[in-house]
């Protein structure tokens, strides 16, 4: 029996894996503060992916006939190294780019950043976390001085009287977390802001709280309206504001321009609802003697061209109410991907080095260079953030080669058809994956790697807790750890530095590299984490050799800003980049379903999950359906200026009549990211997945169901 954590989302539910000759491993929930022994259907069925019929177990290289053919590791690695050398000598080091993932362990995220900087010598590394956490990260950094998704343990939510959830559908995305909202629901204090009546919004029914259902793309205005009400009705906490913050004046003046009637005009939220929501939050705040209030944001509000501003508005609200840095209250971002937190701390980002250090900070470069055993001058500068990086592939002066680790960009990137074209323009695409994802299938070289139950490492969960991932079974013959792949490639490229393949040793190096940084892991090791499963960063090494207890709650004594205070950042609304208009009159919002994860590369290969959620669909309001003559089950086409997507209609009043919803787990013609917008936030570089303008049309009657949807969806086209 092996104690580990689920391979999917950032909740990282604790699991016990028991080897089973038939199934590979048996999965059971394990008691842990975050999941209390619970697992969702994805977690329960996670072992199926280990035995996916098309699991990659041998390197593949595209032959002269254009087909991917099995080959040996030596041949594949020699080829990759040779082509990388050629491209580097012809076009310069930045012509090789790297795209990482928020599902990689801390050890791999660290090693990948190091591999890019000193083995490839490229500035061009970024990762899919740019698609999920970058706005929350940018906003928290500029306001609170550090970005840790939840700067408090998840279990703290249980004591809160009110929780404001913006753009998070956690009942669908991380179901066991819902248990932590029961206190707020019992107090009638759960406030969910979502343009849809999502599973999470339904938690407010029957006295659980309030659901605000704004027009898509207007979350920032909702927040400015709440802040307006807080200030104008004297619900703020002046003593806290005076002692612990700066910049309130400008933020308050800006909020003065968003009186509730004006907010209603933009958001469609009636004034009475806005005021009730503000009052619920305020009466739960410590200043008013409440048992605590939290403001939490998710991708729904962050994946926006004004995502950073929106998160800053959420933080401003939290600061005005005196919530941040007090036990039992606070602001947090609900991280999405399994290692979405750790993945953004250890050097996969185009502008960062391990320990959440900035790559243009000379002292950070010096520290990390010393750990890596290189001259600081060798470390490249800032690279391009994800959307810009993908857009530059194969262009004049852009990268000619791309290495992909833990991402399926052909499905998951916004404006996906365009991204596919850019991938096709490359001279060399190398993909490390566990199954033939859509991106892997188009690669020149595919390298088979390990899954969660087959490897050691650490993951940092949504609450900043460092968790041990443990090996339960041997990997299939032929699959290799990415740590091994990078060592092999580093050797073939004559790279400086050491390239451990033992995760514990890589962690020790990561810990040294993070020492003194914002995300300081230097007091941690695999051995310590094995003994103590409740350590939160920062957890620095202590000079006298004693063990730092870790930091479950940040900001209790101050903020890691130059003056120790949190900053109000005055932000205003600019509206969505691609707003509805005559020729595209409906909003499209995207999201997830419980049974699937991200691009679906894993979950679309699990029979039980496919049976419960077989394919893409469009949620459409009865009024809009009626306008277009759409009946339930009809094929519906959504068209934006970027592309077209086709899926089955679900007629439901869970969406606004001016809005359609589509989940993003499917590929090809059912891939909604063909339609989504790649406009980015000016601060974070995060794309505006969550709102764009589309036309809706009926294209046909229901398609008869195939006998086994499972068989058809896992079929790998030749």
């Amino acid at each position: 029996m092996t104690a580990t954590h689920c391979p999917y989302c950032a909740l990282q539910c604790a699991q016990t894996l028991t080897p089973d000759p038939a199934a590979g491993v048996n999965v059971a929930g394990r008691d842990f503060p975050t999941n209390r022994g619970g697992l969702c259907q994805k977690g329960w069925t996670s072992a199926s992916v280990l035995r996916a019929p098309d699991r990659l177990t041998t390197p593949l290289v595209r032959g002269v006939d254009g087909e991917l053919v099995p080959t040996s590791w030596d041949v594949a690695l020699d080829l990759v190294a040779l082509r990388l050398r050629e491209i580097r000598s012809d076009h310069g080091a930045d012509a090789v780019a790297v795209f990482g993932g928020g599902g990689l362990t801390n050890e791999k995220a660290y090693q990948l950043g190091k591999f890019a900087r000193i083995a490839l010598g490229t500035a061009n590394i970024d990762y899919n976390g740019r698609f999920c956490m970058s706005s929350a990260a940018a906003a928290a950094n500029r306001s609170l001085g550090v970005d840790r998704g939840l700067p408090f343990p998840l279990t703290d939510l249980g004591g809160a009287q009110a929780v404001l959830l913006l753009g998070s559908n956690l009942a669908e995305t991380m179901p066991p977390s819902v248990a932590h909202l029961s206190g707020a629901r019992a107090a009638g204090g759960l406030i969910v802001v979502d343009p849809r009546i999502s599973a999470t919004a339904r938690l407010t029914e029957n006295g659980g709280g309030i659901h605000l259902q704004p027009v898509p793309g207007t979350d920032l205005v909702v927040l400015l309206g709440l802040l307006h009400v807080v200030f104008s009705e004297g619900l703020d906490d002046p003593a806290y504001i005076a002692e612990r913050t700066t910049g309130v004046d400008e933020a308050q003046r800006l909020a003065a321009t968003w009186w509730p009637a004006r907010v209603e005009q933009v958001t469609g939220i009636p004034e009475t609802q806005l005021r009730s929501a503000a009052m619920l939050l305020a009466s739960a705040s410590p200043m008013r003697g409440g048992s605590g209030a939290y403001v939490l944001t998710g991708r729904g509000v962050e994946q926006s061209s004004q995502g950073t501003a929106t998160v800053n508005a959420a933080i401003n609200l939290s600061l005005a109410l005196g919530l941040v840095g007090r036990v039992g209250s606070g602001y947090g971002a609900v991280t999405g991907q399994g290692n979405g937190q750790g993945g953004r701390e250890h050097g996969q980002k185009s502008d960062q080095l391990p320990g959440y250090r900035m790559i243009d900070d000379p002292s950070a470069r010096e520290h990390v260079a010393a750990v890596w055993g290189v001259d600081p001058a060798v470390i490249p500068g800032k690279g391009k953030p994800a959307v810009e990086l993908l857009d530059s592939l194969g262009r004049e002066g852009g990268p000619r080669a791309l290495l992909v680790h833990g991402a399926n960009v052909r499905v998951s990137a916004p404006n996906a058809t365009h991204v596919g074209d850019r991938l096709d323009a490359l001279d060399l695409l190398v993909v490390c994956d566990i199954v033939p994802s859509e991106t892997a299938r188009s690669a020149d070289v595919v390298l088979p790697v390990l899954q969660w139950a087959e490897e050691e490492g650490t993951m940092t969960s949504l609450e900043g807790r460092i968790l041990r991932r443990r090996k339960a079974i041997d990997p299939p013959e032929g699959a290799r750890s990415e740590l091994w792949v990078w060592r092999e490639l580093a050797a073939r490229l004559d790279a400086p530095g050491t390239w451990d393949i033992d995760a514990a040793r890589v962690f020790d190096e990561l810990a040294r590299a993070s020492e003194g940084g914002r995300a300081d892991y230097s007091g941690l090791s695999h051995a310590r984490l094995d003994a103590e499963p409740d350590l939160f960063w920062p957890c620095p090494a202590v000079k006298d050799g004693s063990a730092h207890p870790g930091t479950p709650r940040l900001f209790l004594d101050g903020f890691p800003t130059p003056d120790g205070r949190a900053r109000f950042v005055a932000v205003d609304d600019r509206g969505p980049a691609d707003d509805v208009r005559g020729e595209a009159p409906s909003h499209l919002v995207t999201g997830r379903v419980l049974q699937h994860y991200q691009s679906g590369a894993q979950t679309r290969r699990v029979e039980e999950l496919v049976a419960a959620s077989p394919g893409a669909f469009v949620e459409i309001h009865p009024r809009l359906a009626d306008r277009h003559g759409i009946a339930p089950g009809d094929r519906v086409q959504l068209t934006s200026t970027r592309g077209v997507v086709t899926a089955t209609a679900r007629v439901t009043d869970a969406v606004r009549p001016d809005t359609v919803f589509m989940p993003f787990h499917w590929a090809d013609e059912a891939n909604v990211n063909r339609v989504t917008n790649d406009a980015t936030d000016p601060v974070s570089g995060m794309p505006e997945f969550k709102v764009c303008a589309v036309t809706v049309a009926r294209v046909g009657s229901p398609v008869p169901q195939a006998n086994s949807p499972f068989a058809s969806t896992t079929e790998v086209p030749a």
């Binding site: 619970g38 329960w44 179901p175 104008s232 009705e233 003065a256 209603e264 208009r581």
Partner: protein
């Protein structure tokens, strides 16, 4: 380029902010001449101050701060010399401009009423307009002693002010000479639904009756004589009979002025160096006195001056939405509304009138677009209509659907186990249906633990545990023989 802005109110200050934000090339040096000594504040919320809902301090607006900006407060412009391109201030100093933006706003109109001397500063004690922060302060002070108030004029501001005074505890009579309350926005039937809601919030409406005279004793107001001869005893009169655009400085400079300074769609006067925005301006579409229009003009002018191209008209729609901010009175109008609208054969008008519950909704549709609406007591429907109107999203094929909320989530009633459909999801986290649990029961699972073991129901968030228990109890009851000892 020297740009002078006369006026530091909501629109003038917003324009300066917008312009400096867009002027990335650093083309402009801006000087603002503001009459009021204080920083710009949110005039829209003055009635909320009267209502006691807002502190004056929470009205302060962003005050543009920029190295290329000079703000002169407490100074008014006395004249414009268009030939020398100079603005002269009352202290005699001269400010040269290359471009000039006039944003002098409007002043309260004091009606010609016996007993009222409209000269500024000559109003009897107890008589107030509500236009400035000083007015609001004085009214709030006056309510400490006054119990009976009359509000003259039932436009948006008059109704808001009446509501505010009522919330301060005054008995309020709202006198309105026209045939309908808010006659620019409401027709007779909408007005009467609104009027019938007023007594509940402490306002007595007198529609179709004007004020004839202010009854003044010892320089202090004691009552209002109405045109029907009745005298309403009152120690506070709030005059809300419209505004007069502050055009004097423009008129003296020879610029065309009618009700306001005459400008084109892009806020340009006939002098190519001079522009006018906000309540002092009279654009071709007419002035509405709504700040959203003024801000729209400010943004468009900032675009024009910094990009030199005329911005498209798009995006400017919806700034004529009117919402009355009055406790207990829910009034929203937009676009085509009111009794005086011209006959338009291409438009369809649909009405839901429910006076007994204080509800009245009218929508006006042209093609597949909502072009106007009038909502009294409509709640969420009004908010939805505003969203539809401002974004010009298509209306339902039967526009009658617009009259009711599209967004009323079905109330989920706890369904008894026998009424639950077989394919109904009981445990969402693990996609477990009633049928799955029934079959687990048939196979011998008799407790929540056993059902969880067999189906994984309850093993996600645990939210369905009660429902699963009830289902098992019901299954056990139905098949008592199967319950083992």
């Amino acid at each position: 380029m020297r740009l002078i802005v006369i006026g530091n109110g909501m629109v003038g200050a917003r324009f300066v902010e917008d312009l400096l934000a867009r002027d990335t090339a650093g083309k402009y040096e801006v000087t603002v001449i503001g009459e009021e000594a204080c920083e710009p504040y949110n005039r829209v919320l003055l009635s909320e101050v009267v209502a006691g809902r807002y502190e004056l301090s929470s009205l302060t607006l962003p005050s543009p701060d920029h190295p290329r900006l000079t703000v002169l407060r407490g100074t008014s412009a006395s004249s414009i010399d268009r030939e020398d391109r100079v603005v002269v201030t009352i202290d005699g100093s001269r400010h040269r401009y290359d471009q000039l933006v006039i944003a002098t706003g409007a002043a309260a109109r004091i009606p010609p009423l016996d007993g009222l001397d409209p000269t500024p500063g000559r109003l009897p004690r107890g008589v107030h307009a509500l236009r400035s922060i000083d007015d609001a302060r004085e009214i709030v002070a006056a309510t400490l002693n006054s119990r009976r108030a009359v509000v003259l004029g039932a436009g948006v501001l008059g109704i808001e002010a009446a509501s505010g005074l009522a919330q301060r505890g005054c008995t309020v009579t709202l006198v309105h000479p026209a045939d309908a309350l808010m006659e620019r926005q409401l027709d007779g039937s909408a007005s009467s639904v609104l009027a019938s809601a007023m007594p509940d919030v402490g306002i007595t409406p007198r529609v179709g009756v004007g004020a004839a005279a202010a009854v003044v004793a010892d320089g202090r107001l004691t009552g209002i004589r109405l045109t029907d001869g009745e005298v309403v005893e009152s120690d506070l009169l709030l005059v809300a009979t419209g505004t007069i655009a502050n055009t004097a400085i423009a008129r003296d400079a020879g610029l065309a002025c009618e009700r306001g300074i005459v400008v084109d769609d892009a806020s340009r006067t006939a002098d190519r160096r001079i522009f006018a925005i906000g309540d002092c301006a009279q654009p071709p579409s007419g002035a509405m006195g709504l700040v959203a229009l003024g801000w729209d003009q400010a943004r468009r002018l900032a675009d024009l001056l910094t990009s030199a191209s005329l911005p498209s008209r798009d995006g400017g729609t919806g700034s004529d939405v009117v919402r009355v901010k009055a406790h207990g009175l829910d009034v929203v109008t937009m676009g085509v509304c009111g009794g005086a609208r011209p006959d338009a054969p291409t438009q369809r008008s649909l009405t839901l009138s429910d006076p007994a519950t204080g509800r009245h909704v009218e929508v006006v549709v042209e093609g597949d677009r909502l072009v106007g609406a009038t909502c009294i007591g409509a709640g969420q429907v009004a908010a939805d209509l505003v969203a539809t109107y401002t974004r010009r999203t298509p209306v339902p094929s039967d526009p009658a659907h617009l009259l009711l909320s599209a967004l009323s989530p079905a109330i989920v009633t706890a369904t008894s186990p026998d009424a639950l459909a077989d394919d109904a999801a009981v445990c969402r986290c693990n996609s477990v249906t009633k049928a799955d649990i029934t079959s687990a029961h048939t196979c011998g699972s008799r407790t929540v633990e056993e059902v969880a073991q067999a189906t994984r129901a309850t093993t996600g968030c645990g939210g369905c545990t009660d429902e699963v228990c009830a289902l098992i109890d019901w299954l056990n009851e139905r098949d008592p023989a199967a319950v083992r000892a």
